[in-house]
């Protein structure tokens, strides 16, 4: 049972690089990498909101629940 982060899929769909997305969202590339690799233990609503805004998607497009 886990939460998968499909951020790289959405980034590929929107053709945006990690560095650019990190800058637009206002987080460090290191933190974006933590998020992409699934090492993150939590995500702030403000970060999720900024990611959804920049990638023009819904939270469910980024996060996925897996049994």
């Amino acid at each position: 049972m886990e939460i998968l982060v499909n951020l790289d899929v959405m980034m590929a769909k929107r053709k945006i690089s990690g560095g650019e997305l990190a800058e637009r969202v206002g987080i460090t590339p290191a933190n974006l990498s933590i998020l992409k690799t699934g090492k993150a233990k939590a995500i702030r609503f403000s970060t999720l909101m900024a990611l959804c805004h920049e990638l023009q998607c819904q939270p469910g497009d980024i996060l996925e629940f897996k049994e």
């Binding site: 933590i34 998020l35 993150a40 233990k41 939590a42 970060t47």
Partner: protein, 151 residues
């Protein structure tokens, strides 16, 4: 305050205290034989009690040196701003075990010199306090890890 006291100076003061304790311990190690001789004179010239006192002093001294070394290391980490790191927990665990073992040695020593029982109780209580602080640090490290991995 006129002395312009700050957190860093407080750590330095703690390190100075450790150095003073280390000097006292060194003096005890050097003067243990003399202390034992005096103790033998006091206790009706029973040389076995002197030997037992020497064993108690030197076994306790090993633990005290280890304890002081770990405290010195812990303060060094605190001075560098590395507070919630696993190494500090290890230091506190060692200090706690040293106090517990010292309490055990003192409890055994109380068999030939009852006042050692007070030292045993004090050392045991100290072991308990350090252990509880160590448990709190472990929890704080887990919380810090979670916070560090919150994006």
């Amino acid at each position: 305050m006129g002395l312009n006291w700050n957190k860093d100076k407080s750590v330095v003061l703690s390190q100075v205290c450790i150095a003073v304790f280390a000097l006292c311990l060194l003096a005890l190690d050097i003067g243990a034989y003399r202390l034992a001789s005096w103790f033998v004179q006091l206790r009706l010239h029973d040389w076995r009690l002197g030997a037992l006192l020497m064993v108690s002093i030197y076994s306790g001294s090993v633990l005290a040196w280890l304890c002081l070394y770990r405290l010195w290391k812990l303060l060094g980490n605190v001075r560098r701003g590395e507070l919630f790191v696993p190494e500090n927990v290890r230091c506190m665990r060692v200090v706690s075990w040293c106090c517990a073992l010292a309490a055990g040695i003192c409890a055994l020593s109380a068999l030939y010199y009852p006042p050692f029982l007070f030292v045993a109780v004090a050392a045991g209580f100290m072991a308990l306090i350090v252990r509880i602080v160590k448990n709190a640090f472990e929890q704080a490290i887990a919380m810090k890890d979670e916070l560090d991995l919150t994006v």
